[in-house]
């Protein structure tokens, strides 16, 4: 992206009606390693690509448990993400204390979005440089949301953020219509396939990816490396079946990933045409 005269301050509009600092913050999200989320009628799965800066170091933590019914995956400045996850946890604990019931995911997402918006309208602050995929369960079922540095939030059936996320998104776009009725195992497999797309040449292993699941009756849990490796191994076995299935599905399944209005909340029909993306990023 080229330098503009109007990009020094987050509180300066450009003549084209853009806040460049906010867009640069979203650029930071795109530079981070990929995070993927997808949901079915009963579960939400988050998967991350874990990149270690060198062979000697361990990778950065990108999956966080927020409460028993909510977890997040992040892409971008993971330090900012850590701070946001501490805020989210504290909000959940407070809500639980006052109301003795779990904080609905949608409400938490709005609170985070409002917090992010504040940083786009103060001259002494900078926008958060992290994108969050929030997976959670509430009375209306499982949900997957994305939080942007811009202060926007969206609900998704499936989405991917971070570097090389387009490859994962293409996979998700092809398959998302079948997600609703997937079992937990099938959903995790889809997630791992999507991660594989983002990894491209690298071999998928429990060392370079992470998976977390939350579902009806199942609290949020980050899979340990043994369980994760078991899923990865099962991918190899299922490969031959997958290849056959793919050929059938490839024909005429060019649906756009659907986006649900938060206010609407009602399930969008699978067959409906997706609205054109009008958000600032991607």
């Amino acid at each position: 992206m080229f330098r503009n005269q109007y990009d020094t301050d987050v509180t300066t509009w450009s003549p084209a009606g853009r806040l460049h600092q906010v867009e640069y913050a979203m650029e930071a999200v795109k530079q981070g390693s990929a995070a993927i989320g997808l949901r079915s009628k009963t579960h939400v799965v988050l998967a991350t690509v874990n990149k270690a800066s060198s062979e000697l170091s361990s990778y950065q933590k990108k999956l966080f448990k927020i409460d028993n019914h909510i977890g997040i995956a992040m892409a971008g400045l993971t330090a900012d993400g850590r701070v946001l996850s501490r805020y989210m946890r504290s909000e959940c604990v407070t809500h639980n204390f006052v109301y003795e019931s779990p904080l609905p995911v949608g409400r938490l997402v709005v609170q985070v979005a409002d917090k992010a918006q504040v940083c786009t309208q103060r001259s002494w602050k900078r926008p958060y440089g992290v994108g969050l995929l929030v997976a959670g369960l509430d009375e209306t079922g499982p949900h997957l949301y994305q939080n942007c540095p811009s202060g926007n939030y969206f609900e998704f059936h499936a989405f991917a953020i971070g570097s090389r996320s387009q490859a994962a998104k293409t996979y998700l776009e092809r398959k998302f219509e079948s997600f609703m009725d997937c079992s937990k195992v099938e959903l995790v497999r889809h997630a791992l396939h999507a991660v594989k797309e983002s990894l491209q040449e690298e071999e998928l292993s429990s060392a370079n990816c992470g998976v977390a699941i939350v579902g009806i009756g199942e609290p949020f849990v980050i899979l340990d490396s043994k369980s994760l490796q078991a899923y990865i191994d099962s991918l190899e076995e299922g490969k031959n079946d997958q290849a056959a299935k793919l050929e059938v599905e490839e024909e005429g399944n060019a649906a756009v990933i659907e986006r649900q209005d938060i206010s609407g909340g009602a399930g969008v029909g699978v067959g409906a045409e997706g609205e054109g993306p009008t958000d600032m990023e991607t």
């Binding site: 448990k65 946890r89 504290s90 604990v93 407070t94 639980n96 204390f97 003795e100």
Partner: protein, 245 residues
């Protein structure tokens, strides 16, 4: 807000005015506390811990309910039993739960019983000048799997011991436990451990006997007793009926 709190405190701590002028009123002023009665007991063993509390909730000379639980599971290995003012007890339980949730996020594990014991002490002392009217007994397994019992006063002074009782029936039960469980003398060598040599079922039977006896003479103890047993297999719960008079 602050002045309202000070006003409450001065009402509690200020000395009663003598009946001098004809217009002064004699009688109780408003108190932020009430005593809902009840008794709690805990006994620690080599690899188990038994915590029990009666299920009667009373106010003055009336019974509010016959099946109120004074026992709260804070962690997998740690259980809190509290008698006193149940509104303060409930508030204290919620406070500890919230702190424990935060601990679990930060440390990716549950709090150990000794750690929770210290947290409870700090939480109680935090309100040193407007205390939780709560007489607590904390029981569970320590990091080595041995039973532990911690006993508290209202402002957080605590001690680990092999057994304890708190509440309205405390003075009736404690001597019985001392008689059955106390080691001969602190001067006896080799020094005896904190926990008692009873088996788990013997400890449960002792608890049942002591509650039945306390219910005879203490009017605030009765209706039923809830017994929680923690051992390495997990947490188990038993109930026993008590006299309802």
């Amino acid at each position: 807000m602050r002045s309202w709190k000070l006003a409450k405190m001065s009402m509690v701590f200020a000395p009663r005015l003598a009946e001098s002028a004809p217009t002064s009123h004699v009688g109780a002023s408003w108190s932020p506390y009430d005593n809902n009665g009840g008794t709690c007991v805990a006994i620690a063993g080599a690899d188990y811990c038994v915590i029990a509390a009666d299920t009667r909730m009373s106010t003055g000379f009336s019974i509010l309910t016959r099946d109120y639980s004074k026992i709260h599971h804070i962690t997998e290995k740690c259980v809190l039993a509290s008698s006193g003012f149940q509104a303060d007890v409930r508030s204290l339980q919620k406070n500890l739960d919230a702190r424990h949730q935060i601990y679990q996020h930060q440390h990716s594990k549950q709090m150990s019983c000794p750690a929770m014991a210290q947290l409870l002490s700090n939480t109680l002392y935090y309100k040193r000048f407007f205390p939780y009217y709560s007489f607590n007994v904390l029981g569970g397994l320590d990091n080595e799997g041995k039973g532990c019992v911690y006993t508290y006063d209202a402002v957080g002074s605590y001690e680990r011991s092999g057994y304890s009782s708190q509440g309205s029936g405390q003075t009736l039960i404690m001597p019985v436990l001392d008689n059955q469980l106390k080691s001969a003398s602190p001067l006896v060598l080799p020094p005896r451990e904190s926990s008692t040599p009873l088996t788990e079922s013997e400890a449960v039977d002792l608890i049942k006997d002591t509650f039945a006896s306390a219910a005879e003479r203490d009017i605030y103890t009765g209706d039923g007793v809830e017994i929680v047993i923690i051992n390495k297999e997990g947490i188990r719960r038993e109930t026993m009926a008590l006299k309802r008079d």
